[in-house]
Amino acid sequence: MGLRSPRADLVGLVLLAGLGGLFAIFFVLPFLGLGERAASDGRVWELATSEAVRRALTLSLWTSLLSTLLAVIFGTPVAYWLSRTRVRGRALLEAAVDLPIVLPPTVAGVALLTAFGARGLVGEPLAEMTGIRLTFTATAVVMAQLLVAAPFYVRAARSGFAAVDPQLERVAYTLGASRVETFLRITVPQARGALLAGIVLCWARALGELGATLIFAGSLEGRTRTMPLAIIDAFERTSLGLSGAVSMSLILLVVAFVVLVLFRLATPDAPDATAARATQADR
């Protein structure tokens, strides 16, 4: 049977559809399970509105938003520089920035301890001189999230900036625009989609951060126990058990879903930009 025969094509198509279907089922089932458990377990609603959950959610939201903001503030210049520099060893630098994406977050947690812990490189002199100890604080939570999540933003922003034609920037210079003005009025709007995607990825990663936080910031209700930590904690407790974990998972799921939908609504695919890209590709 030749690979070009209509029959082979049909078989391939069916195979593809089958694989895709299985994959889809695999992705849907866990969430169905969660929903089913929540519906059948009477305690889920009561737990969802409990003080512990409220504190964990509050902590999770403000720390993840703060770490995302910090990632944007500190990561944007780095990303832009990486996208434009031709310095030797740039590939090495980019790999270094990407490293936390590849490593398990627990490694990030241990690394943070060795740097900012009570006996860490910076942590020890800091504690001796100022008495400030970072571990077990909300600051540590933000630091853990920043280390683990910021590379997602930097990576997205870097490729977003790299996709902006440097010619646009150069023309803006000749039109009298300063470097900063050009960056804000030309480069950033052009990279807008990538930057927003990076922000959402970074925020999602920060919201879900568990390993590094557990190691570096510990887990204490209201102080360092974010939603993922609270879910783990609930899962280990027999009094709350799976019910608690389910209710908090659902809350996190809803929050994440709402944010993603808002994000999609806020960034409709700009028809102008798409059209421009299409015509440019035409030439």
Binding site: L15, G117, G218, R223, F235
Partner: protein, 294 residues
Amino acid sequence: MKRFRPLWLLVLAAFALFALVSCSGDEEPESSPTPTPTPTATTTATADATTAATTEATVTEEALSGTIVVSAASSLTDAFTEIAAAFQDANPDTQIDLNFGSSSELASQIVEGAPAEVFASANDAQMAVVVDAGLASDPQTFARNRIVVAAPADNDLVQAFEDLAEPGVRLVLAGEEVPVGDYARQAFANADAATPGFSEAVLANLVSEEANVRAVLTKVELGEADAGVVYGTDAAISGDAVRVVDIPEDLAPPASYPIAVVGDEPSDVAQAFVAFVLSEDGQAILASFGFSAP
């Protein structure tokens, strides 16, 4: 897509094959040789006393075989690793898979249907969870452990149990529902009788609730915490890095460790393992890791 590329098809086929294999694999439980009683064993077990001598002989001749999962509290990590090794030496055809975690975590795993043939808990409460779920019966206490305050060797902030209430001490405990965390909180509450407000003052110093006793110990060893409450057995293992501060025995009675076989049809291996833990050999190993006899 006008052309089918052979390579692409190959990748697809490989993917499909992989999916098939992993699906069929899922149908059987992971520990494939489920230790079901052999026919011989069953007959000998139900045989009457007149053939006791034969029975005895058959049991020793008919060597134990199979794999079991033993879920044990993380404070038992080192002791049970050695006990399992000794048991396997004596019964070469058996395999003991050890699963350590906090007793509460293990208990909820077992209740949720995680595979385990034996459960060794660090307190009676978590054993009760499994027993109440009808998954185990007749737990037996096989060891006792006391709790102590562990402090970094190079940090003298906490010299005595009372120092835990001093402001500024960074105290790390295991979670409330982890036995060692529970014992610690009981000890603080007991101290309230002599020193009102002691418990509240100590808990104000709490900076983190860890998932298990080892995590508490690590935070102390690293010097992140000024003190943590752990089992004496754990403190003993970490050696020079940690300084032990005793908790008065009247405030913290030693913890008891119950063990039980899980499931309605306990396997021979599981029963033999429990028996081994309670035997002289097992007790000797436990003693060598700082546990006291029940």
